[in-house]
Amino acid sequence: MPGITLRGLGKRYGGVAALDNLSLDVRPGELVALLGPSGCGKTTTLRLVAGFLKPDTGEIRVGERLLSSPASVVPPERRRMAMIFQSYALWPHMTVAQNVGYGLRFQRGVARAERARRVAGMLKVARLDGLEARYPGELSGGQQQRVAVARALVVEPEILLLDEPLSNLDANLREEMRFEIRRLHEAFHITTLYVTHDQAEAMVISDRIAVLNRGRLAQVGTADALFEAPRTRFVAEFIGKTNVVEGVALSGDTIVRDGLRLRVAGGGLAAGARVAVSIRPHLIALVAPAVGGADALRGTVKRVAFLGDGVDYEVEVAGADLTLRVAAPTSPRLRPGEAVGLRIDPAACVRLAEDDAPGAS
């Protein structure tokens, strides 16, 4: 089972860089999600890996095999990959069995009987048995999706590519299919690239997430790492909700913003430098306003939104032109206008780099 290596990959359309100097390793058997807003280059990356596009710079390898470089591109049909499309791309003129069996026609040494056996086996795994003779137009959305999955897996590809495969499903089915895809990955362990713009989907499905922004890799890591230690403001805001506070370093471990002082764990700030930190709403504690202490702040509740399993507060911080989002338990419930104290652990303040800083961990 080989992995995928992307080195310095670049692609321009007209004068616009769709992808700029992307390097990424997908380890053998790993599922990596390419996550980002539309236009970030994630689909371009996937299509480069599939061989539908030719890179302007850089190269793509699978294992030791060079598949793409500006000089040459191995055509898609010879890359031993499979892909699941956003539209599913099921062939409307072929039955379910014909759709699923199509890729096996091109595998040498797979006899007709063997082909039928493998199709039947895959249809069973995908819970499509009994639907062999149906046409795609006669299936529900979920069934169509499973046909697309079966068609890709039956050829036992070295690499599996998925292009937003769940975005055409309704919300309930989508949630169910997330776990289904994760289950299939754990069963087959095919090296997989998964494109999505939905951060929750990426977190459930993938081993690691590569966040892309404007054609560049912003950060790559596990869901935990990205959430707890976002490197840039873009990553912090794209993965989960956060408060970004900008200020000036007073000393190695303190920043100020107007009357507000924040302690930042780790230290090493250059005094006088402009610094931005990310503070997750659930890491801010609401306390009684009288309680003092080095990390204590005071503020006023501006807005309260009850979310069922918690309450989302907007708190205006006293002495600074700043409003913080705070996620708190449903009790005790505060009202708009109430004075409140805030406690922020220095470890909750994650220092952010500039968005445009090149390179990534």
Partner: protein
């Protein structure tokens, strides 16, 4: 080794196929047009000259032909709008009875070869023997005819009744795209019915209206048959008949070439204007998905409106078709249809006695099948190349395939005559020159159809095949071709219909051994054999309608283009 293999694999193995198709296209277009331009500026002994142009434009007879064409085209455009637009509105938006029937009749008018209509109207409204004029005389006792079809107004009338469908199609399709909610939105803001019509509906339809006007004008400019049948006996020429007569003995090919160029330029300019208008029409189409279209009740006007539609249809369909049928079964077409006058003799004469007919029918069918088959394959391949961007300069491919739209049949024939009467390609005198002419002339219609077909097939479906191991050509065979089948059949039919009715290029390119049906129809006119004309005309109509039925079955909708 690895690197070398990858480099080889990187080449698209099907590239020669794409390149060959593109080259055929360039060859088809560039050779005749190049010769046309060359010939129009080359002196008899060689060398550059503008003499042909000055000769052409100094000649008062040619100036008159030019002016006649302008008058004809302008009035045809105007009449087409006056007839086509109300008809479109009535069938698209009101509760006029028989909307499906009216639409079907507009379609029939659209596919009727205009020269057949002209023949029929000669029998109906010729000044002496014309059926309507005889009826008029016998009813009123008058001496003078009611109408004389051999006149400019007569010509305009006969051309317009087969041209108004262009306006109808444009306007009806646009109206079908404008959901009533944009009108209701204005009504909610306080606009009355008239204000809504003037400020919302009319401006949205206007580009389609003007565009339809331009298409009608273009049709009238390029038409050869009707002017030849109606204007020549009346003693005047249009540009197309003038070019044709420059080809009669002794042929003045250079003059014909020089006279073709203004017609070509006028067409280019008009078509460019029409495209710009349509390009800006986008907003009308965008708003149109799924919105409800409210039906406007006509109240007491329902039946008068139907009556008006039927009058139009009488002029385009009922009277001419009836006349053709009557002439086909009569000993003397001008006499009343009595038992004594009833005969099948015209059929016997047409098929067994008149020597040229059977050969012409065979030629026409051969050319029809050959051109439609080669043409459908070629435009299919070209549209595929262009829509999937398979070669460098795929935009040029799309452009070139549509270029013949701007070439009137007569001009194309002049160009092909020049190009293929000299080495290395001597095709004149064979059916092949007609084949090339038809292939070129029908290319845009077939291409437009094929282009729509391939645009309707998402590239995903092909990519899914590629990634699972199928090469480009294999995907074309297994996935694209089956999905494109009905669209390709439709393209085949459109080309076939175009070929069997083609007159304006054939009339210049035929030789005694390579006559086609339309040319024989013309010969028969010279001999006054209207019975045989009617028979052959009915055969042509039957072929046309059979093919139209096939298209509708393949596409699952009517040929006029809007959904129901």
């Amino acid at each position: 080794m690895e690197r070398r293999g990858a480099a080889l694999a990187g080449l698209d193995r099907a590239l020669p196929v794409w390149a060959a198709a593109a080259l055929v296209l360039v060859f088809l277009m560039a050779l005749p047009l190049g010769w046309l331009a060359h010939m129009s500026v080359t002196a008899e002994r060689g060398g550059f000259t503008l003499g042909h142009y000055t000769a052409v434009f100094a000649d008062p007879a040619l100036q008159r032909a030019l002016w006649n064409t302008v008058v004809l085209a302008f009035w045809v455009g105007l009449v087409s709008v006056a007839v086509g637009a109300p008809l479109a509105w009535l069938t698209a938006r009101t509760d006029v009875p028989g909307r499906g029937l009216i639409r079907g009749l507009v379609l029939a008018s659209f596919v009727t070869p205009p020269f057949l209509g002209a023949f029929a109207w000669v029998m109906l409204a010729g000044p002496n023997a014309g059926y309507l004029n005889r009826l008029w005389r016998s009813v009123t006792g008058a001496e003078a005819p009611l109408v004389n079809i051999f006149s400019m107004p007569g010509l305009i009338f006969v051309v317009a009744v087969y041209t108004f469908p262009y306006v109808y199609i444009m306007v009806a399709n646009t109206l079908a795209l404008i959901a009533s909610d944009v009108e209701e939105a204005a009504a909610m803001l306080g606009a009355g019915r008239l204000a809504v019509a003037l400020t919302i509906t009319f401006p949205m339809v206007l580009p389609a209206l003007v565009s339809g006007f331009i298409l009608s004008v273009l049709q009238a400019l390029a038409l050869f048959g009707s002017p030849a049948i109606l204007a020549l006996p009346a003693g005047f020429h249009t540009v197309t008949t003038q070019i044709w007569s420059l080809f009669q003995f002794p042929p003045k090919v250079e003059m014909a070439a020089a006279f073709s160029v203004p017609l070509l330029l006028a067409t280019v300019v008009l078509l460019y204007l029409q495209k710009r208008l349509l390009g800006r029409r986008g907003y009308a189409a965008v708003g149109g998905k799924g919105g409800q279209r409210r039906v406007i009740p006509l109240g007491p006007w329902r039946y008068p409106a139907l009556g008006a539609c039927l009058v139009v249809m009488a002029c385009a369909i009922f009277l001419p078709y009836g006349m053709l049928a009557k002439a086909a079964f009569s000993r003397a077409w001008a006499q009343p249809l009595t038992w004594g006058n009833l005969t099948l003799g015209n059929f016997a004469f047409t098929f067994f006695e008149y020597s040229a007919t059977r050969a012409a029918i065979v030629n026409t069918l051969e050319l029809g099948f050959l051109t439609a088959t080669v043409g459908a394959a070629l435009v299919g391949l070209l549209a595929y190349i262009a829509s999937r961007r398979l070669v460098l300069g795929h935009q040029v491919v799309a452009f070139l395939a549509l270029v013949p739209v701007v070439i009137p049949g007569v001009v194309l024939a002049v160009a092909l005559f020049i190009a293929y009467t000299r080495p290395p390609f001597v095709l004149y005198g064979t059916l092949w020159i007609l084949f090339v002419a038809y292939l070129t002339k029908e290319m845009p219609v077939g291409y437009a159809q094929s282009d729509a077909t391939f645009r309707g097939i998402p590239p995903d479906l092909e990519e899914a095949g590629r990634i699972l191991g199928a090469g480009r050509l294999r995907v074309l065979r297994d996935i694209t071709a089956p999905l494109a089948r009905s669209g390709v059949i439709a393209a085949w039919c459109f080309i076939f219909i175009g070929v069997i009715r083609e007159l304006s290029a054939s009339i210049i390119l035929f030789t005694p051994n390579t006559k086609v049906m339309s040319v024989v129809l013309f010969d028969l006119k010279e001999e006054g054999q209207f019975g045989a004309i009617a028979v052959l005309g009915l055969v042509m109509l039957a072929l046309t309608f059979a093919t139209v039925t096939l298209v509708q079955a393949a596409l699952g909708r009517d040929v006029l283009g809007a959904r129901d």
